[in-house]
Symmetry: C2
Subunit: 267 residues, 2 copies
């Protein structure tokens, strides 16, 4: 049974697609065949990144790993109940098909609430929620008392995850490993970073996730979109620009993969 | 007739809510009564920021400008046609009500495609599209040839804006001023910034927007969410931490307001 990793956060621009791409590259380099589903059916940032990668492979002849892609469409049924049933069937077919050939399935969610995203959250063995170091992003997990900074209660995204966990428990599946990954961390300004950090620590105990140090704000994480490459691919493409930021970025990716404690993955 | 400013970009986390908050603060300080609508009905980041501001005013007694908020709800009709008609009516009521007392109406859109967002784009006198300095964000405006970097064609968000402009023309309204605002600009790495910049310049001629230099990546734009303050409010709250980044941020806000060429606004 393939291990299912879901990248989820209703907050837009938190880094789901970027993390999906880099996690795919890391898993592929550990020798795994990776299946991927992009649930952001309008934007498709993750699948667009992969299209660019495929175009790069075709025009340069460079050997680079590619995942097995499964494309999903929304149901066009008018009735909500019929549409939901059709989407559940399609989602289930997608997982089964990818499971035939892949040891890992990566699912990138949109920055909005959709039925497919809800299904993905229930199917996740590992749920990764990237977030900016910002109390605006934090607000989607939980509301804080603006005067004391204490947690008042869960917000819309945490409630969605809770509902998915209930569905998972009802289905008799083992509990999800919910990992919050800090992304676009600023090099300066320790105060804001500490505030978000302590809010996350307090909340993690209450709603059951663990926090891992993630990625700094680094242009190398976004400047290779057109070529479909990630910094992990630079050995194969012969581009050995090993500046300090790239070395640090590589180490960040390694640390993230290690802290995910994934089966049959050694970094 | 109030001047309607819409913050739109289907790409999540591009800075719509952050720009909405700072633009509100700037307009209020120019003496304008500002009406606001938050169309991100699930996340409500802009209205949450304003709730925190109101709580700050109440507990500290500080005098700070507040906007006139109008809350919209989705229609619960089953039929898509009936829901659309109800939402159009509610949207129209919202604009008329705010127009009674406000010279400016600010509408913050979600990072996804909704009917209300489509209506807002057609109603906009000024449409501001913030975006990260990233070809991943750019991909929602237009697809680039991955080999040559040339524009291949419009993407899903540019098509949505085009459709809104047609609706606007049909309604006999004067053309929208579509402004793309660069946000979270990195201090280093000129190469990526140049690539995005030249892609924007080429696209702006083809699909009719203008580009304005926007905001740098600065913690001051996000660290005051809990108090509901912006850096423009710090004079009133007696917090005169005038470090270099804050002075630069203040200047960036001033430049943005100036380049928007808004009626009865002098900075
Ligand atoms: N660690 C990082 N360093 C620099 N830029 C980053 C980093 N992570 C993400 N970005 C940039 O931030 C923006 C948002 O990232 P991304 O598209 O991965 O987020 P997302 O959560 O998938 O967004 P959406 O909600 O729209 O699907 C993109 O322009 C991306 O290139
Ligand atoms: N100029 C900036 N400097 C530093 N941080 C910023 C800046 N602009 C935005 N941010 C941060 O980036 C994140 C995304 O910004 P914001 O919520 O305003 O985007 P949005 O387009 O409204 O997102 P959504 O699509 O979810 O509505 C937030 O954590 C915000 O605090
Ligand atoms: Mg994405
Ligand atoms: Mg927003």
């Amino acid at each position: 049974m393939a291990h299912i990793i879901v990248l989820g956060n209703e907050k837009g621009g938190s880094g789901k697609s970027t993390t999906s791409m880099h996690l795919f590259a890391a898993l592929a380099r550990c020798g795994h065949q990776v299946g991927v589903i992009d649930l952001d059916l309008r934007q498709k940032s993750f699948f667009r990144y992969l299209e660019n990668r495929e175009a790069f492979i075709n025009r340069t002849g460079t050997k680079l790993p590619m995942p097995v892609r499964h494309v999903l469409e929304y149901s066009t049924f008018d009735s909500v109940a019929a549409a939901q049933a059709e989407e559940e069937a399609r989602f289930s077919v997608a997982l089964n098909r990818l499971d035939e050939t892949c040891s890992y399935i990566l699912i990138d969610c949109p920055g909005s609430h959709t039925r497919y995203a809800q299904m993905a959250h229930a199917a996740a063995d590992t749920l990764i929620t990237p977030m900016n170091d910002s109390l605006i992003d934090f607000d989607l997990l939980a509301r804080l008392n603006p005067e004391t900074g204490k947690v008042l209660g869960p917000s819309v995204y945490a409630e969605m995850v809770w509902k998915a966990r209930q569905l998972r428990a009802t289905a008799g599946l083992k509990p999800v490993d919910w990992v919050v990954l800090r992304n676009r961390i600023a090099t300066l300004n320790a105060r804001n970073k500490r505030r978000v950090g302590s809010a996350l620590t307090e909340l993690s105990k209450r709603i059951g996730f663990r926090v891992i140090p993630g990625f700094g704000e680094r242009v190398v994480f976004r400047e290779m979109f057109l070529s479909g490459l990630t910094l992990l691919d630079l050995k194969d493409t012969g581009d050995i620009s090993l500046n300090i930021s790239n070395l640090a970025a590589r180490q960040e990716v390694r640390e993230v993969v290690k802290s995910l404690n994934l089966p049959d993955v050694s970094i």
